[in-house]
């Protein structure tokens, strides 16, 4: 079950849809059309907000990004585009790579490049664009080139789509923007986008990109000549491809601005109600896409702010050059200052997190007076959160992997959550322990060492370590040295985003959480040995292993502590006995059956007792000797 919330609606027609949504049942095209026709905007928003909360907690992401459109010279002249001009036109411009580099600064984390299809530029120029940005700013991730551009490159430079993509990947292309999708409808394409690639080609390119480990976004341009039905079909097509590849990160509805395009719409902008509905409906239809973006440049800041309560969990960011939208008359300022974005997110009652291109959190900016609870994004933590309903609005949830939680806790920014045991030990002075945690006696299925060698032969070898937690890493060291007497092992941290890792270069790899579970049945590359660290510990000590303990910052108000404890107790109590339903959606993503799920969750102990406490002590004793 996705949500235990009982909602009521002014439009009773929404009730059957909510029952589907909360039970994790996919919405049909008919459902989507009911949602577009409802007058109950608030009811629709409440559903979408619940779904967004289940996925992202109260978090809204933003990124410091720089947009480039290095040229407006384009060989095509799409009807709806008032950005492109022909070579020789007085408005034509070309930006050199040097000029692009000049604009960048080290605070920027994402560069977004799209442009006109230039008749003369060489292939090398595009490759250099990506390469030189990566060389000058290794921390900046490059999100570049829509499918339309990829197809153009392939044709012009006589390469396959794969060749274009892998050559770009080799120099540092990490993700692709979602533009050029417009509306996946042949009828609409013939009417106004007839020069552009169709849905089939668009998906082909993205499929290939996903296969190569390049993730991407996907847009939908609405508010011109398309019907509601075509919008829903757009979402459904997308959902199907996502089932196959899992490579789409974010869905971005773009409100059409007629500007000088000559395309007639009633007013010069979409209605705010249509904007909010489209955000909410996409959140409800696209059950397999992680994020929905309220792109304020196209949506206006006023609607984007409200969209954060209608299912959107991403605000895009601080944008530099935004010519495509602004030439068509968007009224948003060119640069919403970071402070403004943060305050908009705060006023929406949400928690701003500055992210990188893959949504890994870099900084968190809690509003004054709020207490942030870390939402462990792992399947084994579902019982903590599936019914977590604090009575106070000041308690906010943010999904953070253990190590990031530990880091933000140390910075004083996050105040409670299931803390990795090692992080708790390091911050005991500032945190008090609650009687909850994650412990297991025997197999944990989700803390696994994949190895080419057995334990005894790991000496002198290199092990790749999960970047997500420190406790499992310490457990591995204890097992190696104390249980098996193996020393001289070299450890190397993996990238937080799994798709970015090359496991083949290691002798063994330690994975935890969902990343480990995903490999439970399929294994990892050519690693023959799989060791369950919790089981190893149990067989050795005949004791449970405690991975995490719930901890609460001493200094937060007593009322907050009380509210957190009550919400947690409530969630654990109400979740008991419903494990197979609770994690259903989550388990599906990991390829697990209902039985797997129940077995997996039943293995854990969520309330810590005497036994668990002494097991913790035992482990810390062993670990202390190592250091």
């Amino acid at each position: 079950m996705l949500s235990s919330k009982e909602l009521s609606f002014r439009d009773p027609g929404l009730m059957p849809i909510w029952n589907k949504v909360r039970n994790g049942i996919r919405l049909s095209k008919e459902d989507g059309l009911v949602l577009y026709s409802t007058h109950d905007l608030i009811g629709l928003g409440r559903m979408a907000n619940e779904v967004s909360r289940a996925k992202s907690g109260d978090t809204v992401y933003f990124v410091l990004n720089q947009k480039f459109e290095p040229t407006n010279i384009c060989v095509l002249s799409c009807k709806f585009c008032d950005f492109a001009v022909k070579k020789g036109s007085p408005e034509a411009y070309e930006q050199s790579i040097e000029e692009m580099l000049d604009i960048l600064n080290p605070d920027i984390r994402e560069v977004h490049i799209t442009m006109g299809l230039h008749p003369d530029w060489e292939w090398q120029h595009y490759v250099d664009m990506v390469r030189r940005i990566k060389e000058a700013y290794p921390l900046i991730d490059v999100k570049a080139f829509t499918a339309v551009e990829i197809v153009f490159f392939a044709k012009k430079f006589k390469k396959t789509h794969e060749e274009v993509l892998s050559e770009l990947k080799a120099v540092g292309l990490r993700t692709m923007p979602g533009g050029g999708a417009e509306v996946f409808s042949e009828r609409v394409r013939k009417l106004i986008f007839n020069q552009k690639i169709g849905a089939k080609t668009w998906f082909e390119v993205h499929r290939k990109a996903h296969k190569l480990g390049i993730q991407s976004n996907v847009t939908m341009l609405y508010g011109h000549v398309e019907t509601f039905e075509e919008r829903i079909e757009h979402m459904i097509k997308l959902r199907e491809v996502q089932d196959e590849t899992g490579g789409f990160m974010t869905f971005i509805p773009l409100a059409f601005q007629p500007g000088d395009t000559g395309i007639k719409t009633k007013n010069n902008f979409t209605s705010a109600i249509d904007d909010l509905k489209t955000i909410a409906i996409s959140r409800l239809m696209l059950d397999n896409i992680a994020h929905i973006k309220a792109y304020w440049v196209m949506l206006t800041a006023e609607v984007a702010a409200v969209a954060l309560n209608f299912g959107a969990d991403d605000m895009d960011g601080i944008v530099g050059h935004e010519r495509i939208a602004h030439d068509a008359g968007a009224t948003s300022p060119m640069q919403l200052a970071k402070e403004k974005i943060i305050s908009i997110i705060h006023e929406a009652g949400k928690v701003p997190i500055e992210r990188d291109v893959w949504y890994n959190p870099l900084h968190i900016y809690p509003a004054e007076g709020t207490s942030i609870v870390s939402k462990m994004p792992y399947l084994n933590s579902v019982p903590f959160y599936s019914n977590f309903e604090p009575e106070l609005a000041e308690i906010k949830l943010s999904p953070l992997v253990p190590r990031v939680f530990g880091q933000f806790a140390k910075e004083g920014k996050v105040d409670a959550g299931p803390m990795s045991l090692m992080d708790y030990v390091a911050s005991q002075d500032e945190f008090e322990m609650l009687d909850y945690g994650v412990a297991v006696s025997g197999k944990a299925y989700s803390v696994l060492l994949y190895s080419h060698h057995d334990w005894k032969h790991l000496s002198g070898k290199t092990i790749g370590l999960t970047a997500e937690s420190s406790t499992s890493v310490e457990l591995l060291r204890v097992l190696l040295e104390k249980k098996y007497g193996v020393t001289g092992v070299t450890f190397e941290r993996l990238h937080l985003t799994s798709g970015q890792n090359d496991y083949t270069k290691f002798d063994a790899v330690l994975l935890i959480g969902d990343e480990a579970l995903r490999r439970w049945k399929v294994g990892l590359a050519s690693f023959l040995n799989v060791y369950d660290l919790a089981e190893e510990w149990y067989e050795w000590k005949k004791m449970p292993f405690v991975f995490a303990v719930w901890a609460v910052r001493n200094s937060i108000p007593a009322a907050h502590k009380e509210a957190i404890r009550n919400a947690l107790e409530g969630s654990i109590t109400r979740s008991k006995g419903h494990y197979d339903e609770l994690g259903r959606e989550h388990a599906k993503r990991l390829g697990l059956t209902r039985e797997d799920l129940a077995m997996y969750l039943n293995a854990f102990t969520y309330r810590l007792g005497e036994q668990e406490r002494s097991a913790m002590e035992e482990f810390l004793k062993e670990q202390a000797v190592l250091a």
Partner: protein
């Protein structure tokens, strides 16, 4: 306290007390507020209809001796751009407005001690006589207190004189936040909350209809907002003289307060205010969304957060314009905005008498009959468009 208890009270049409109000304002999520606000909205006004008024909002003087630090509009006597129009000049403008289909003139100005009471009564009398199609919605409480000071009469006596001259409704501006703590900081010379309230009370006693406003987003706290609404609600219980409540956010541009408050509150906060006001002010028939002060799209959204009125077309407006905050619309666009938000547009007058609904593709006849609009229905009948200053300005 819990959201459940509060919802139960609202859904069974009970009144919230101050404590519950404050808790809800601080802990209710935006959509919880919206859900309750919609319940109250459809309780007062069952049909999915939204009213609007074709009005103009000119000013007769910008000379003012009150010096509110949130105000970008006022000037002092002798300033190069200070102005005071004669009654003749104003009547001329009203006539032009009437010809363009304007139904109501919301007239306000600075508190200018050089103007005698007769200036105001003459303005009303001549409007009634010479521009009969226009409803005068004249003079805020500060100006009325100013008239009392200048004439030596009491406020009730001034109100009697204005009534005799033909006035029967007054605008609710000047309330800002009805908390003396806040007033002392932002408008120390404007008098106390009780001054505003007592003018309103006396006016209601005499049968005037008025609106009630609130300007938030400066130095007030949530407690002040609840206090404001609580006082307003109590007064409404006495005479039921308020037609509508109209909140708007403080726009810092060009005001002395800009140094402390750099930017205005987000649309989320506005919708929260609209919804909260609808829930708390259970005895107010209407809550007005102001597309003008918050943006057209925010205005549309507000209609789903408890508002049932879209305000005026504001053929002329100078106060927000002085703060570099300008939105313009046409009557046609306004009707479309309401309809695209999912409601039937209905034209009304100041006292909320309605003139007629507009079906898809229909617009008020008055604009179609006017000469200017014969050329093009799309043409703006608003004052010359000032380039739109970026949102987030300041």
């Amino acid at each position: 306290m819990q959201i459940k208890q509060i919802k139960e009270k609202v859904f069974s049409n009970q009144r919230l007390n101050r404590e519950e109000g404050l808790w809800l304002l601080q802990n209710g999520s935006l959509l919880d507020l919206a859900e309750m606000a919609e319940h109250r909205r459809y309780f007062h006004n069952l049909a999915p209809k939204v009213t609007f008024v074709i009005d103009s909002n000119p000013n007769y003087t910008n000379i003012c001796n009150i010096d509110c630090i949130f105000c970008a509009f006022y000037r002092h006597e002798g300033d190069a751009d200070a102005y005071t129009y004669t009654v003749d000049e104003m009547i001329e403008r009203f006539k032009k407005a009437e010809a363009r289909g304007v139904r109501t003139v919301l007239l306000q100005g600075g508190v200018n001690p050089a103007l005698p009471l007769e200036y105001y009564t003459e303005m009303i009398r001549r409007t009634r006589a010479e521009v009969p199609k226009i409803h005068p919605h004249f003079f805020s409480t500060s100006e009325i207190i100013g008239m009392a000071n200048v004439s030596g009469l009491s406020v009730p006596a001034v109100l009697e004189k204005l009534k005799e001259a033909g006035l029967n409704s007054i605008p609710g501006g000047g309330a800002e936040v009805l908390s003396d703590k806040v007033k002392k900081k932002i408008s120390s010379k404007k008098g106390t909350s009780e001054d505003w309230l007592s003018v309103m009370r006396e006016a209601h006693k005499l049968g005037y209809k008025t609106t009630s406003t609130m300007m938030y987003g400066h130095l007030e706290s949530d407690e002040d907002i609840v206090e404001h609404l609580d006082i307003t609600r109590a007064l409404q219980d006495e005479y039921h003289g308020f037609t509508a409540f109209i909140p708007w956010s403080f726009k810092p541009g060009n005001t002395p307060l800009e140094k402390i408050i750099h930017t205005y509150a987000s649309s989320t906060r506005y919708l929260q205010m609209i919804a909260f006001a609808r829930i708390y002010l259970d005895n107010f028939p209407h809550i007005q969304a102001s597309w003008f002060s918050e943006g057209k799209k925010t205005g549309q959204m507000a209609l789903h957060f408890g508002a049932d009125d879209f305000g005026g077309t504001l053929e002329e407006e100078n106060v927000h314009a002085s703060a570099n905050f300008v939105h313009t619309t046409t009557i046609k666009e306004m009707v479309d905005l309401i309809r695209d938000a999912g409601f039937t547009p209905v034209e009304r007058d100041t006292l909320y008498h309605t003139y007629g609904e507009f079906a898809e593709g229909e617009y008020p006849a008055s604009i179609l009959n006017s000469e200017r609009l014969h050329q093009s229905v799309d043409a703006s009948i608003i004052m010359p468009t000032i380039p739109l200053v970026a949102l987030g300005n300041g």
